[in-house]
């Protein structure tokens, strides 16, 4: 069951004109922003499939930039997001890709500043609902059927256990979990699917744990 809540169907409240191409795009941008943890200095945004064909008409470009500026789907500043980004000195480039993606509404976002960069692939599956399929070269195998969080952490002993313990304390059951890293001792990633909804205060508590760098809810 990809859609779990009635508000996936009656909602979101959003700025028009398209739930998948505007609201979904804003949400993909906002997940990237949230994982990056700060406002980027530059962004390269690639559109695939229907996104590439119709992004101008649907305001996909302004919406995704709005998300990068941390605007929610119903924030009217989305309409002027590209101008606002320009005023804030963010360099933005849009690329229309010819490659045929697995999903018709696919965007790849690479954002960064002098301290680092982040690459993310998101798909917009309809009605404003999104899935993140790739992060920093890690392929995410999320079913999308359960609430999920991404945890960026330092590859150290105890990091995984501390996250699992905290979730256990709140009686949150882990249904599926993947841990990946590119290099021993460097940055690593936990993808955790759970059975219960995770409140924002739990996310905050997870972030305060040692060696945990960033926690983001990617599926509600």
């Amino acid at each position: 069951m990809k859609y779990r809540s009635v508000f996936d169907i009656i909602g979101p409240v959003m700025i028009g004109p398209s739930s998948s191409h505007t609201a979904g795009a804003a949400r993909i941008g906002r997940v990237a922003r949230s994982l990056f943890g700060r406002e980027p200095k530059w962004a390269n945004i690639s559109f695939y499939g229907s996104f590439a064909q119709t992004y101008k008409g649907h305001g996909t470009d302004v919406a995704i930039v709005g998300g990068l500026l941390d605007f929610d789907t119903d924030d009217e500043r989305i309409i002027h997001a590209i101008e606002i980004a320009k005023e804030r000195g963010i360099k933005i480039r849009f690329i229309e890709e010819d490659a045929v993606p697995d999903h018709p509404n696919t965007a790849r976002i690479i954002i960064g500043d002098h301290n680092g960069e982040l690459e993310l692939v998101g798909i917009s599956i309809g009605g404003g609902k999104i899935e993140i399929t790739e992060l920093n070269g890690f392929e995410l195998k999320l079913s999308g059927n359960h609430p999920a969080i991404l945890v960026v952490h330092n590859d150290r002993f105890g990091a995984i256990a501390s996250v699992a313990n905290t979730l256990a304390k709140y009686e949150i059951n882990i249904g599926h979990m993947e841990v990946s890293r590119k290099e021993k001792g460097k940055m690593a990633l936990m993808t955790i699917e759970v059975d219960q909804n995770i409140d924002d205060n739990i996310i905050k508590e997870l972030e305060e744990l040692p060696n945990i760098l960033k926690v983001t809810k990617i599926v509600d």
């Binding site: 996936d8 398209s18 119709t54 999903h103």
Partner: protein, 294 residues
């Protein structure tokens, strides 16, 4: 958790509850949020819909200039009183158009189930409101019933034009609206399902071919006809007419039709009305040149 329409109807009947109530209870159990919180959120969504309709029937114009003002024309026409079809149906059409005109103008709307199809559910709701005089609670229930049927379609088929064509968007919205109208009018859960089936059957095969890729032409008028379709199907179901093909099988047929639909007709602005001479001309006027030659 109900997985299809048959289970939804069975749950409602076995517990002697309305479909809206089954949806509310499932939401409580899945999210762990309180009933009050959930109903309040739906009330806020209802307010957004109300505001969009009010704004639209006063008149808006989109940035491209392609759409806007038709809701006003229809309201004035209804006021004159010499219409042919019927006041409630035309009011529904006008309010569906109003919502989508606001959407096209990058206004604030509530997706039901998507933004491109956001007119049908509120359009029918606010028209039927004048006929049935529901309480605020009953109007909120209308949205939960619509949501329950949309939930089944989204999980078993698709509500995305890019994945399933317009039948998945306006088709789903119209089916959801028809079911919700039936419940508000006092129909049974079975009649809700029949109304959804009858509506969706008549939306099968509808392609997504937006001119210039904008959610305007033909989206606004497809919302108009989605609302009209929902109203008529609701009356048919309330009269006791049944769909020979069960609702779940209609939803499955819609999914399969969507899968076999060519990409050119699924929100890529490459085929259908988007590729007509006038469609291309409008596109060139708005973007300086056709999208596929830029």
């Amino acid at each position: 958790m109900f997985r299809n329409v048959a289970e939804l109807v069975e749950l409602a009947n076995s517990q002697n509850k309305k479909i809206s109530e089954i949806m509310i209870e499932q939401e409580v159990s899945v999210t762990g949020r309180s009933r009050e919180e959930i109903i309040n959120q739906m009330d806020r969504n209802l307010k957004v819909m109300e505001d969009a309709v009010e704004r639209g029937i006063k008149g808006v114009t989109s940035h491209s200039g392609l759409t806007g003002g038709d809701a006003v024309l229809l309201q004035k026409y209804i006021e004159k009183g010499n219409f042919l079809s019927g006041e409630t149906i035309l009011d529904a059409v006008s309010k569906a158009v109003a919502t989508n005109e606001v959407n096209a103008a990058m206004g604030t709307i509530c997706a039901t189930p998507t933004a491109g199809s956001a007119g049908v559910v509120p359009g029918t709701l606010f028209a039927v409101k004048n006929k049935l005089n529901p309480t605020r609670e009953q109007m909120i229930s209308f949205l939960f019933t619509a949501g329950a049927f949309g939930f089944v379609v989204a999980n078993n088929a698709s509500i995305s034009g890019a994945a399933g064509g317009c039948q998945a968007e306006v088709g789903s919205a119209a089916g959801m609206a028809a079911a919700a109208i039936v419940e508000m009018a006092g129909g049974t859960p079975e009649q809700c399902a029949e109304a959804m089936a009858i509506t969706l059957k008549n939306m099968l095969g509808l392609v997504c071919d937006p001119v210039a890729g904008l959610v305007e032409v033909p989206c606004v008028k497809r919302n108009a006809m989605g609302a009209a379709n929902a109203m008529v199907a609701a009356d048919m179901a309330l009269a006791g007419i049944k769909s020979r093909i069960p609702c779940d099988e209609v939803i499955d047929a819609m999914f399969k039709i969507g899968q076999s639909m060519p990409t050119a007709l699924k929100e890529t602005a490459q085929g259908g009305l988007a590729a007509t001479p006038t469609g291309r001309e409008l596109e060139a006027k708005i973007f300086g040149m056709p999208l596929n030659e830029k």
